[in-house]
C-alpha cells in the first residue's frame, strides 16, 4: 500500500478530528495510537469556557495565558456544535455553567472574573441566591450566589468519540495500534513503532498529549507537557433535573448530569500515578473529598449511590494551546490542546488538519505556535532520507 500523505500520532479527540479534517480535504491518512491513557476516553465531557478557578489557583503564573485563550474556548464550543450537527447527536447541551460562591469574598472574586471574561466576549452574568433558586433550586443553603456563563455546556464523550471514530473510518483513515518510539523528520517523516513497523509519510501531526514531549524533543522542541492523573466519580441514575455544569469559585469541582440521569463528579482531584504508560490508581482521599464536596454543594444527589470511580490522564503544558509547525522540522505539526483539552480538542484538531492539507486558516494561530518552546536542535537527529 502506498505511503499515506499524513501520519497522525495519537488518537484522542485532537488526533481523531485532525485525521477527519485532513481526510475530508482528500489526504490519505494513517492514525497511529498507543491506546494508553487517552484523556479523551476518561474525561468528564464538560464544555468549559469560563476561567476555571482550579487552574488559576494551581498555576497562577499561567492564568494570563488561559485568559488570552478565552476566545478560543468560545470558538471551540461552536466547533463542537458544528460537529454534533454533522455527526451527532453527542448529547450536547449548552444550558450554561454555574460557578458557585459560598461567601461574600468568593462572590467578589467572581465579580472580578466576570468583568475580565465579559471583556473577552463571554456571555456571563452574576446571580444572587434568589435568582439562582429560579435556575437551580437544589443547591445547598450555604451558597450565596453564582456566576452564570451561558456559553458553557456538556456532552457525552463516549458517544462523541464513537461517532467520530466511525466518521474517520468512513473517510478511509487507516487506524493502527502502535506506540511510536522515535520520530524523524526531514523532507518527510518516519516514525518507528514499538511493533517494529516504520510509519512513513509526507507530514505528521503529533497529537500525543502527554506523550508528545518525548517525540518532539529530538526535533528541537522543549515542550513542557506533563501527564496529570485525575480522578472521576459517577452515580447511579436519577431523574433529570440538573441542566447546568456546576463549578465552584474556589474549590476543585465539576458536577453535571448526563442524559442517562447519572451524576458525573470530577474537577481535577488527583489520582496516583503508576507511570505515564500505566493506568493511574484511585486515591481514597480524592474519592471521599470530591464526592463529599459535591454532596455539600448539591444535597439533592445524596440519595444516589456512587457506582464507579476512575482515574485518567490529563495533559498540562503552559496553559495555552500548542498548535503549529515545528520551527526546526516543518513537516511536523504539533497539536496539544491545553487546559480543558476535550473542549478545545476538535478546534485544535481541525486547524491542525487544515494546516496539513495546506488550506487557508480562518483563525490566527501565531500566538499558539510551538516556536515558544524552541530549543537548540541536536545535530543528526532530524534529517532522514525517506524511501516512500
Amino acid at each position: 500500500m502506498a505511503a499515506p500523505d499524513l501520519l497522525v500520532i495519537g488518537g484522542g479527540i485532537v488526533g481523531q478530528t485532525a485525521a477527519i479534517r485532513a481526510a475530508e480535504a482528500g489526504m490519505r491518512v494513517r492514525l497511529v495510537d498507543a491506546g494508553v491513557n487517552a484523556g479523551s476516553t476518561a474525561n468528564a465531557g464538560s464544555l468549559h469556557v469560563q476561567l476555571q478557578s482550579r487552574f488559576i489557583r494551581l498555576f497562577p503564573e499561567l492564568a494570563p495565558n488561559v485568559e488570552a485563550s478565552l476566545p478560543l474556548y468560545l470558538a471551540a464550543v461552536r466547533e463542537w456544535e458544528r460537529l454534533e450537527a454533522a455527526h451527532g447527536p453527542f448529547e450536547l447541551v449548552r444550558q450554561g455553567g454555574l460557578m458557585l460562591a459560598e461567601g461574600a469574598e468568593q462572590m467578589r472574586f467572581l465579580e472580578g472574573k466576570a468583568a475580565r471574561e465579559a471583556a473577552r466576549g463571554l456571555s456571563v452574568e452574576l446571580l444572587d441566591r434568589p435568582a439562582l433558586d429560579r435556575l437551580a433550586p437544589w443547591l445547598g443553603p450555604q451558597i450565596v450566589g453564582a456566576e452564570l456563563c451561558r456559553d458553557e455546556g456538556k456532552l457525552n464523550p463516549l458517544v462523541a468519540n464513537r461517532a467520530l471514530r466511525a466518521r474517520a473510518a468512513a473517510l478511509g483513515v487507516e487506524m493502527r495500534a502502535d506506540r511510536i518510539v522515535a520520530l524523524e523528520a526531514g523532507a518527510g517523516v518516519a516514525a518507528r513503532g514499538a511493533s517494529g513497523a516504520v510509519h512513513a509519510a509526507r507530514q505528521a501531526i503529533v497529537a500525543a498529549a502527554w506523550g508528545a514531549g518525548a517525540l518532539v524533543a529530538p526535533l528541537g522542541l522543549a515542550l513542557p507537557v506533563r501527564a496529570e492523573p485525575l480522578h472521576m466519580n459517577i452515580t447511579e441514575p436519577g431523574a433529570a433535573q440538573i441542566g447546568h455544569l456546576i463549578q465552584h469559585a474556589e474549590r476543585s469541582i465539576t458536577l453535571k448530569q448526563f442524559a442517562s440521569g447519572q451524576i458525573v463528579i470530577g474537577g481535577g482531584w488527583p489520582a496516583e500515578s503508576r507511570g505515564d504508560w500505566a493506568t493511574p490508581a484511585v486515591r481514597a482521599a480524592s474519592l471521599l473529598g470530591n464526592v463529599a464536596l459535591a454532596a455539600r454543594l448539591v444535597p439533592a444527589i445524596a440519595g444516589l449511590r456512587v457506582i464507579r470511580t476512575w482515574a485518567g490522564m490529563n495533559t498540562t503544558a503552559d496553559g495555552r494551546t500548542v498548535l503549529g509547525r515545528l520551527p526546526a522540522a516543518p513537516s511536523v505539526i504539533l497539536a496539544v490542546p491545553g487546559d480543558a483539552g476535550y473542549t478545545l480538542g476538535p478546534l485544535a484538531g481541525r486547524i491542525a488538519g487544515e494546516l496539513a492539507a495546506g488550506l487557508p486558516a480562518a483563525e490566527d494561530i501565531a500566538p499558539l505556535s510551538p516556536a515558544r518552546f524552541a530549543a537548540p536542535v541536536r545535530l543528526g537527529a532530524s534529517a532522514v532520507r525517506l524511501s516512500a
Partner: protein
C-alpha cells in the same frame, strides 16, 4: 401469635416474619417484580446475595435499597423502584454521620467457611481479629444460617458451631458491614447502616467467597428467574420457597442439592436439567470422583436418590434455551430437546465466579484457570497473595468448595497471626493434608460437571448480556466489529458492564469474546480494570468515611 414484621409495598400490606428479608417476604406474597428499568422492563431477585443490584426498592423514601439485603421491619413503606430516582431538592445531609475506625492485627473480610475458620485460628493464636460481613445472617454461602429459625440440617448446625468457635476464640464479628473500597497500604472502607467503618489492619484476609455464574438465555432477566443459590438463601435463611413450582437448570452439584432442599420444603420441582452427560456414560470421571471423595460422592448419590423418590425428573445433557412470561405471572422455560415447562420460578447455576475484586484492586497476582474459566489468586503456602500482608482464603481465590475453604482459612489465619507476632503457625500439617485432599476431590467433581463457562456462540442476538445497562449480545457483537483490542474499549463503545453491578455477569463473557476475536489468551488484564467502589456506596457512607479518614490523617 407469631411476631410480625408486616410492611407496606406500594401501599398494600405484606406479611413478614422478623429477620426475613424484604425480598423473601415479597416473594412469599407472590410479588416478583421490584423495580423498573430505564427501558421499561421489570426486575426482581436474581442473585439473592447483594451482587446483581436488580432487587432495588425504595424504602421509606430512600431509593435503590437492595430488597435481598434489607430486613423487613414493621411499618416500613416499601415501593417499586422507578428507573430514575427523584432528586429531592429539599434534601439535607446527615449532620454527624456515624463512623468507626479500627486497626486490628488481622482483618477478615467475609464471614463464611473460610473467614470464620481464619478468624478462629488467628484469634486462638492471640491476634486481635475483626470479621466483617455484609450479610446480617452469618455463615456465608455454605454455612448460611437461618435468620430466626432453628438449624435446618447438619450443614447449618456445623455453621453455627464454626461461628461459636470463632467468637469463643475472641474474634469480633460485625454483620451488615459491606467493604466497598480497598486501597494500597491496606486501607479498607466499608458502609454500615448508612455510616462508615474505616479499617487500617496490619494484615488482611480476604474471604469474600464466590457468586454464581448464570446461564444467559433469552428471558434470564425476567422476574422469577433467579440463581439456584438465591432460591437456596430464600429457603435456608428465610424459610421462603421461591415459588410453588420450580425448574432448575445449569451444571453442578448445587442444582441437585437445592432441588432436593426445595422439594423437601414442599415445592414441586418440575425438572432438573444438567448440561453434562449422564455419569453412567462417563465411568472414568465418576470413578475418579468416588475415589477422591467417597463420603461426598455418597452424599451426592443420596441426593439424587432423594429426588427420584420424590418423582423429580433429573435429565442429563439437557440445557435451558429460553424463558418467557406465561399466563398469570408464570414462566415458561424451554429446553434444548424442545420440551417446555410452566413454573413460578426458574433457577439457574452454571458454576461460580470468585469475588476477587478486593484482591484485584490491591494488585494481587492472578492466573487464569481455563478449567473453571476464572482467575485464581497466586498464593504461597501461607495463603499470602503477592501483596505483602494480604491473604486470600476460600472461593474468592478460585473455586475450591467449603471444606477446602475451611482448611485454607485455618492456614491463613494462623499465618497472618504469626506475621503479627502471635503464635508460630508451625502446626498446620493436618490442615495442609486436608486441603490437598479437598482439592483433589474438587477437580474430580468438576470433571463430572462442566465448570468451564459455556460459549455464547449459539445464543441469539436478542439475549441480554449486560443486565444493568440492558445491552444485548447483538449490540456487543456489533461493537466487536469495530475491532476493540480490549474489553475496556468495548465497554466504552457499547456500555456493556457500565451499570451498578460493575460487570459481575457480563465482564467474563465479553472479555472472552474479545479474546476470541483478537486471538489473545485470557488473563487478569483481559477483564475490566478493577475499580472502587466494589459495590455501589451511599453518599452518606462517603461523607462519614471522609470525616473519619480526615480525622485520623
Amino acid at each position: 401469635m407469631a411476631p410480625d414484621a408486616t410492611f407496606r409495598f406500594d401501599g398494600r400490606p405484606v406479611a413478614a416474619r422478623p429477620g426475613q428479608s424484604l425480598a423473601a417476604a415479597l416473594t412469599e406474597a407472590g410479588i416478583r417484580a421490584f423495580r423498573e428499568t430505564a427501558k421499561g422492563a421489570r426486575r426482581g431477585i436474581f442473585c439473592g446475595m447483594g451482587v446483581c443490584q436488580d432487587c432495588l426498592v425504595t424504602v421509606n423514601g430512600q431509593p435503590n435499597r437492595r430488597a435481598c439485603m434489607t430486613p423487613a421491619a414493621p411499618g416500613l413503606e416499601v415501593a417499586t423502584q422507578a428507573a430514575f430516582a427523584r432528586l429531592d431538592p429539599g434534601a439535607t445531609l446527615p449532620e454527624r454521620p456515624p463512623a468507626r475506625s479500627i486497626a486490628p492485627d488481622v482483618l477478615v473480610i467475609g464471614g463464611g467457611a473460610a473467614g470464620l475458620a481464619a478468624a478462629a485460628a488467628a484469634a486462638r493464636a492471640g491476634a486481635s481479629v475483626v470479621v466483617l460481613d455484609e450479610r446480617k445472617v452469618g455463615g456465608g454461602q455454605y454455612y448460611k444460617q437461618a435468620a430466626a429459625d432453628a438449624p435446618l440440617d447438619p450443614q447449618q448446625a456445623a455453621g453455627a458451631a464454626l461461628i461459636a468457635e470463632a467468637r469463643a476464640a475472641g474474634a469480633e464479628m460485625m454483620g451488615g458491614v459491606e467493604v466497598w473500597g480497598a486501597f494500597d497500604g491496606l486501607l479498607f472502607l466499608a458502609e454500615v447502616a448508612g455510616g462508615a467503618l474505616v479499617a487500617r489492619p496490619r494484615t488482611a484476609i480476604v474471604a469474600t467467597g464466590a457468586y454464581e455464574r448464570p446461564r444467559m438465555v433469552p428471558g434470564w432477566t425476567l422476574p422469577g428467574v433467579m440463581t439456584t443459590g438465591a432460591a437456596q438463601t430464600l429457603w435456608r435463611s428465610y424459610r421462603t420457597l421461591p415459588g410453588r413450582r420450580v425448574a432448575v437448570a445449569g451444571s453442578g452439584p448445587l442444582n441437585v442439592q437445592v432441588a432436593l432442599e426445595l422439594a423437601r420444603g414442599g415445592a414441586e420441582v418440575a425438572l432438573v436439567a444438567e448440561a453434562t452427560g449422564h455419569p453412567l456414560l462417563r465411568p472414568a470421571a465418576a470413578a475418579a470422583m468416588a475415589l477422591t471423595g467417597p463420603r461426598l460422592t455418597l452424599q451426592g448419590l443420596a441426593m439424587l436418590a432423594g429426588l427420584r423418590r420424590r418423582g423429580v425428573p433429573v435429565r442429563y445433557g439437557l440445557t435451558l434455551d429460553a424463558v418467557e412470561a406465561a399466563e398469570g405471572g408464570a414462566l415458561r422455560a424451554t429446553f434444548s430437546d424442545g420440551r417446555s415447562v410452566t413454573v413460578d420460578a426458574v433457577l439457574m447455576n452454571d458454576g461460580f465466579e470468585p469475588q476477587n475484586e478486593i484482591l484485584r484492586l490491591l494488585g494481587a497476582g492472578m492466573d487464569w484457570d481455563p478449567a473453571v474459566g476464572h482467575l485464581r489468586a497466586r498464593r504461597g503456602e501461607d495463603m499470602q497473595t503477592t501483596v505483602p500482608g494480604l491473604y486470600a482464603a476460600g472461593d474468592c481465590a478460585g473455586l475450591g468448595g467449603a471444606p477446602a475453604a475451611v482448611a485454607e482459612g485455618r492456614i491463613a489465619g494462623a499465618c497472618a497471626a504469626a506475621a503479627c507476632g502471635h503464635g508460630d503457625a508451625w502446626d498446620l500439617f493436618a490442615d495442609r493434608r486436608a486441603l490437598a485432599r479437598h482439592r483433589r476431590f474438587q477437580r474430580a467433581l468438576w470433571r463430572m460437571h462442566s465448570a468451564a463457562p459455556r460459549p455464547l456462540d449459539d445464543a441469539p442476538d436478542a439475549t441480554i448480556l449486560c443486565r444493568c445497562e440492558e445491552i444485548t449480545l447483538g449490540e456487543v457483537r456489533a461493537g466487536l466489529a469495530d475491532g476493540p483490542g480490549h474489553v475496556g474499549t468495548l465497554k466504552r463503545a457499547t456500555r456493556v458492564g457500565m451499570g451498578r453491578c460493575q460487570g459481575r455477569y457480563c465482564a467474563a463473557p465479553a472479555a472472552r469474546m474479545v479474546a476470541a476475536a483478537t486471538g489473545r489468551p485470557m488473563e487478569d488484564v483481559s477483564l475490566f480494570a478493577p475499580r472502587v467502589p466494589i459495590k455501589p456506596v451511599s453518599i452518606a457512607a462517603i461523607l462519614a468515611a471522609q470525616e473519619a479518614v480526615d480525622g485520623s490523617a
